[in-house]
Amino acid sequence: MLSLVVLSAPIILMYSWLLVASFSVRITGLVPHGFTLENWRFLGRALPNEASIWTTTLNSLLFAFAVGILEVLIGSMAAYALSRLNFAGRGVVLSSTMVLHSFPSVTLLIAIFLVLRFLGLYDRLAGVILVKLALDLPLGIWIMKGFFDNVPWDIEMAALIDGCSRLRIWWRVMVPLVKPGLLAFGIFAFLSGWNEFLLPYVLLPSQNSQTLSVLMASLASEERFADYGLVTAVSVFYILPAVLVFALTQKYLLNIFSGGVKG
């Protein structure tokens, strides 16, 4: 317990400092001075050379929600099929999804850029969502396959006897049974989308399509001088939804470890 406190203390201290600093006039070294709302001016009017914060936030939200929802939807269908249906090439699919996951996505960036440009999806949110899905789904499918594996066969056979098609079994029986796990997975996928930096940074260059993570990076690496007050305020603004999601859904998140099935 004590070691946990000691280990997490620096993190908590840093975040507290970030919060205080975002309301400070000046920061000398690590010491903040004075109180001001000036750092939060970006909420009202667009920053010079930047799109409105609300456009950027909307982009981030769209991106994170799309990733969360689509990963659960597509992933759980694939996971059900891999867990329960006996089709040709099932073993190959299972092992190759794992191989896909083990590639570092950076190495694919140029290829992805070319493909997206060819498809007319470069600098479009939909394009990055597709790429993110493709890169994250393999692991997601494996995790969700584990949920379905835990549902007894008898229940599925009972549903077959009761007259369900396999699609209906997936939707009416299996999904409700593994819902806690899917919900947890969806939240993790949402947060992963919210935090994603590399893909939007490379594939969404224009200001109107950038996400919060990209805005953060551009503020922190401003060429002439970095406005640290502004950077801290935007940081707090960027963290807030993630913290909120964690706080509200904490009890569901643990379900990802319990196999996803409720007693």
Binding site: P152, D154, I155, M157, A158, L160, I161, G163, R168, L177
Partner: protein, 349 residues
């Protein structure tokens, strides 16, 4: 609905789970399939249900060959050993599930669910979830879910094996009553002979995928067709003694030969005698030694060392025996069974 299996086989890779099984279940008949675990009885049931496809042979419902029909087209109700209730639905919704799939009107669904719940006596459980029910109640819910479709054939896979002993007897009687009231053709699978013999009109015994006997419970006990069946049926189990037959006479070990009621080919046989057909008597033919006494309440089970074998004898609770004592036993010759030593087939039909 009459159900017939014709030369039915099911292979999983190199393993033959069901091997050339033929049988007919009459309209309204209650048939039990009995056998040790792994004998293929559940596979046979799942073949009838349509959960497995036969490797060869035919399954007929009435005149209809159902080999290629999906489970939902066959008009069956199946109760699983694990009950397989849907944990996320209430009892009402569990029972209503097959009707909802068929898109039956809500009013009709409610009426039929309540009707079948009342018949089985679980009306007060309807709003609860399966996790809040006892094993016996869950079992009844599973039965309701199978019956609510008004199936032509009811299939029961070890329906009582997860219940405690007392509840098992109550439920057994209940299932038998329901089956007779509804007149529904029923196949039950069990490894428990008391369950199978007590509930069914006829019992099929399976061994390594083959159907080795199919007869009434009484015949199965009194005139088993093979040594395996005789050994499998009956608690405490039957006794076997090696005997020889020569010149129409039978001799136990070196004992005095005794004429047989019917002439038999000379050779080696196994004599089977049930524990209740051996009695302690001063003038008995068999002399052994008491090695163990087990009190069963109503009776005492005496283990007797005789020659190289052990005999089990059922006697009254006050039988005059003590441990380590020599004992004389009389054999009820009219009840003996004879099996050929080589093949194990019954020699006295």
């Amino acid at each position: 609905m009459q159900v017939a299996l014709e030369h039915l086989s099911k292979r999983f890779g190199a393993v033959t789970a069901v091997d050339d099984v033929s049988l007919t279940v009459g309209e309204g008949e209650f048939l039990a399939l009995l056998g040790p675990s792994g004998c293929g009885k559940t596979t046979t049931l799942f073949l009838v249900a349509g959960l497995y496809r036969p490797s060869s042979g035919r399954i007929l419902f009435g005149d209809r060959v159902v080999n290629d029909e999906h489970p939902q087209e066959r008009g069956i109700g199946l109760v699983f050993q694990s009950y397989a209730l849907y944990p996320h639905l209430t009892v009402f919704e569990n029972i209503a599930f097959p009707l909802r799939v068929k898109r039956i009107r809500a009013g009709e669904v409610a009426r039929r669910v309540c009707e079948v719940a009342e018949m089985v006596g679980i009306t007060e459980c309807l709003p609860r979830r399966p996790g809040q029910l006892s094993g016996g109640q869950q079992q009844r819910v599973a039965l309701c879910r199978a019956l609510v479709k008004a199936p032509a054939v009811l299939l029961l896979d070890e329906p009582l094996s997860n219940l405690d002993a007392r509840l098992r007897e109550v439920t057994r009687a209940e299932i038998k009553r329901l089956q007779k009231d509804l007149g529904i053709t029923t196949v039950l699978v069990s490894h428990d002979q008391a369950e199978a013999l007590g509930i069914a009109d006829r019992v099929g015994v399976m061994q390594s995928g083959r159907l080795v006997a199919l007869m009434t419970p009484r015949d199965l006990y009194e005139r088993p067709p093979s040594r395996f069946v005789a050994d499998f049926i009956g608690t405490p189990p039957i006794n076997f003694l090696p005997v020889t037959v020569a010149d129409g006479c039978l001799a136990i070990g070196d004992g005095v030969p005794r004429p047989l009621p019917r002439p038999l080919r000379a050779g080696r046989y196994d004599l089977g005698v049930r524990p209740e057909h051996l009695t302690v008597a001063a003038d008995g033919d068999l002399v052994g030694e008491v090695i163990l006494l087990e009190s069963l309440g109503r009776e005492t089970l005496i283990h007797v060392k005789f020659a190289k074998t052990r005999l089990r004898v059922l006697a009254g609770p006050d039988a005059p025996v003590t441990l380590g004592q020599p004992i004389r036993l009389r054999l009820a010759w009219e009840h003996i069974l004879l099996f050929e030593a080589e093949s194990g087939q019954a020699a006295l039909p």
